[in-house]
Symmetry: C2
Subunit: 126 residues, 2 copies
DNA sequence: TATTTTTGATTACAAATGTAATACATTAAA
DNA sequence: TTTAATGTATTACATTTGTAATCAAAAATA
């Protein structure tokens, strides 16, 4: 498995915009983020550059405008974050982590049923 | 809810030792960590100092030896980390997070049953 | 054509983090 | 009592991160 770039908290915001839709120009990304953040557009440009340097984003140049797109998938980055939490906080013990999530947070009945279904299937496949 | 100190990756290692057993002297902590890390004892002293400055650890002085103990509970720090992941990566959507954890990781049949039980109980309590 | 505007590139700067080294004070040993 | 060892406090230094400002080049405009 290729080694993923480490994506910081602020960078995650930017990546999420591009995972949602890409390629986008810097200005389009700035517009998207204007809804969720108070960042100066300069700040966003900086984050875009850092993400390019980390090989998390690629560009496609059209004249002097860049179109940015992800070079890593959201799912692989998400997995890396999940594993990081699991290991750092729970020493890799999945059950306690899940139990804590389940007990604390609110889930709809539908969601509960979906999760039960996943567990059923896992139980059977053994 | 009191505002928790932000505990870094390396600091988590130290805190886990003390959550497991406390109070401990710096040397005892160093000994514990010798098993899991390659850190220089100086490094560990630095981390202990930073954690004290963050009010994550307190000390009880005995002569010139300090006995360190946690000022924040593991559970509240763990919750903070869970929430951070949930929000940063999943925009707060719990079900997809849990589904991803469940699908990817390996759980024993017993663990699966325990989780099903938790889900049952949650379903009922609505 | 000279000037302003726009877009990306480079530089800035403080705080946090990883990873120690050095300094200082006190106790134990010679 | 002087010296060495031990424990804590202070200082160090590079990298990452948050948050921009400035610079340079190209395009649009006067």
């Amino acid at each position: 498995m290729k080694d993923l770039p480490k994506i910081s908290e602020a960078e995650w915001q930017v990546m999420k915009v591009l995972w949602d839709k890409s390629p986008l120009t810097a200005n389009e990304i700035v517009d998207q983020l204007a809804n969720n953040t108070e960042w100066n557009p300069r700040t966003i440009k900086t984050l875009l550059n850092r993400l390019m340097n980390k090989n998390a984003l690629g560009i496609q140049q059209d004249g002097r405008v860049y179109w940015y797109y992800p070079l890593v998938s959201k799912e692989e980055c998400a997995r890396s974050e999940r594993e990081s939490l699991l290991k750092r906080v729970y020493n890799g013990a999945l059950q306690p982590l899940l139990a804590a999530f389940l007990e604390e947070q609110k889930l709809s009945n539908e969601e509960i049923d979906e999760l039960k279904q996943i567990l059923e299937d896992k139980g059977k496949s053994k």
